[in-house]
Symmetry: C2
Subunit: 394 residues, 2 copies
């Protein structure tokens, strides 16, 4: 019998070879190993809310499941849920959106897969930000496109400008994929910025995809959707973050009229349909009693942000752009280290704190930054800060 | 304001333009319209079991959900579920399979997406069968590969042979994706055939992917997995069919050792993780009480197959290969029509029967065949046969 490994490594597609893993996974594995030997770890690396799914949503799922009739839905999702999502745009943003343009997906990930699958041809260039959500460039790579990074920094709150879109645009550019609130920086695009980016992309014949999966989780700032400024943009959204439904794997995609049919064909073939129990659960996500729970949690997220932001500044971190949304603070660590990966390692080993080094979000200046997630309660955040203070000898 | 449609149709990727819709959807829409106006339709087009999810599986999900803690799992799935699936291979097939090679996925669709994403480079050729599961060629197309059809017919029970693999193999061929039990024909590959196909593909340096999503649903024939004959093949499996869990969107992929890491990276980036409630539900799928329910249902599927097969033969259809598994009968309609699409239309309008024309399964000889699914109970099947008999004037 021949060794199975050798011939098969070469069979792995270039795509799969080139796609980078999450570097934080290595740290998380070490964190888990430390926990297994009795160490206490403060988790500030996790990109999901610590809250349980709101009770009305859970109850809706349990009620639906009682019958056991858990069959496929149509590929675009339950009509009632598509209408509920469209209604949410009317109610929350004042945007009249036909339910036909709402595609229910397997999480924000499924929405990105369908949008980029329906838009990216091999060799096409798509603009993304550095730093940004790391999977974005891998989705583009998956469909043989090329992600072209716009390096964004503190000078514009880590968000791209129309001028940058113009200067990065080539004959091969077909669109842009940006995010607001941003992961990893938590910064939010204002209305005039959304309008400017829309015009910059669409005047060049391109498509703008806006990742709005952290919408709802903003703290006093703007919470405008790109749909206010364009009916031709695509919006990626999710029940994971604001709605606290990560594990259900449910999200949605808003597409222009002309994309509905191509996206439906892709969805039929690649997914068949999104999860039926998750869709029935999500029907309860827009109920007033659920929204009340979510708004109370948003208040708590804001308190955590305020606490963590103040404490990191007090300890000597630089926070170059005010984090206004999501549940992340992107901190400049140069006062302590020139290597965020080594610093993250030291944080874990010496202080029992897990946090994500910049390396997972881009290549421009990753050694300078770390992402701290406030997806754990105030008491634990305070414990983390106390340990950090001790480690830094402040 | 400019019309949104014109510029955006050109933005749709070639991939999305080329992927074909399911033709049966058009018929299903007409069937739904007929039902809405009070007509009774016998559904023999549906590719999912009519049974509810087994009660122990539903109860496991409801118990899990009670806490509301529905967070992400690891990208490859819950370790306990991966072990349960590996245990199923030991128990059911006598195959020792390390749980590390089990990847839990978003349905069989997610398994196909990950397997082909990890294997297909642009321009690569992959062998598939015609007729076969229509999405197979679209998954390959999605990753810019080319599906090359092996036309299979009654002479070999609609299954490919090693000789056909040899004659279709070119310098660009990288593998083959076959299915057993087959959709749409229900025919099953025997052990020596699995061995022959494995050798034909692997001796040429290719990878064999076996779609085994209808495994468990066989009626007296062989139920061997390709894993008995190769540790280098990939297996696509699902909780949808035998386990009656379609709407949960859960399946699995077995990969050789060397593919685990590339598939994990793809899964992290494209899916994050499979549905958490579905995974907890599936932990109960292998319980003895669940298996007892499923085996009783298998007996019922067999009774339906026996009934429908006998009746279709009696009415003058030709069934050129004995359907031994899944829940499909692929019937030659040439005694009645030379155009299965027109015949399907007539069946719907004149007899109130929905069934799937061959066109959805390939291009070789689709006008000659229709797929009848026995995913409705014996009483309804009998009603359908009575109507069919009347329509045919027999």
């Amino acid at each position: 019998m021949t060794a199975p490994t050798a011939p098969y490594l070469s069979a792995v597609s270039r795509r799969a070879q080139e796609i980078a893993p999450f570097h934080v996974m290595e740290l998380m594995a070490r964190a888990a190993a430390l926990e297994a030997t009795g160490h206490d770890i403060v988790h500030m690396e996790v990109g999901e809310p610590d809250f349980p799914t709101p009770a009305p949503v859970v109850e809706a799922a349990r009620d639906f499941l009682a019958s056991g009739h858990v069959h496929y839905t149509s590929a675009l999702g339950l009509p009632r849920l598509r209408e509920a999502i469209a209604g949410f745009y009317q109610e929350h943003y004042g945007i009249a959106l036909p339910a036909s343009r709402v595609v229910v997906t397997a999480g924000g990930s499924g929405a990105l897969l369908l949008a980029l699958g329906a838009l990216v041809n091999p060799g096409d260039e798509w603009l993304v930000t550095d730093p940004g959500y790391p999977c974005n460039r891998h989705f583009i790579r998956t469909f043989e496109g090329q992600a072209k990074a716009i390096v964004v920094g503190p000078e514009n709150r880590f968000q791209p400008t129309p001028e940058q879109v113009a200067s990065h645009w080539t004959a091969h550019t077909r669109g842009a994929l940006f995010g607001s609130p941003s992961n990893p920086t938590g910064t939010v695009l204002r209305g005039h910025e959304l309008r400017g980016l829309t015009e910059a992309v669409e005047s060049r014949g391109g498509t703008l995809i806006l990742d709005e999966i952290y919408h709802g989780l903003t703290y006093g700032g703007c919470d405008e959707s790109v749909l206010t400024y364009s009916q031709q943009a695509c919006v990626v959204q999710s029940f994971s973050k604001y709605f606290n439904m990560t594990g259900w794997r449910l999200g949605w995609l808003i597409v222009p009229e002309a994309f509905i049919r191509p996206v439906e064909k892709l969805a039929q073939n690649l997914f068949i349909a999104p999860s039926t129990p998750a869709q029935h659960a999500a029907l309860a996500a827009f109920l007033p009693e659920t929204r009340a729970i979510l708004e109370a949690r948003r208040t708590e997220f804001r308190q955590r942000r305020d606490f963590l932001l103040g404490e990191l500044l007090r300890l000597g971190f630089t926070i170059p752009a005010q984090p206004e949304g999501a549940f992340y603070i992107y901190a400049d660590i140069s006062a302590f280290s020139g290597d965020s990966f080594a610093f993250a390692s030291r944080l874990l080993d010496e202080a029992g704190i897990a946090a994500t080094p910049g390396l997972d979000f881009g290549n421009a200046d990753p050694a300078r930054y770390m992402r701290f997630a406030y997806t754990t309660n105030l008491e634990r955040l305070a414990e983390g800060i106390a340990r950090l203070e001790k480690m830094l000898g402040r």
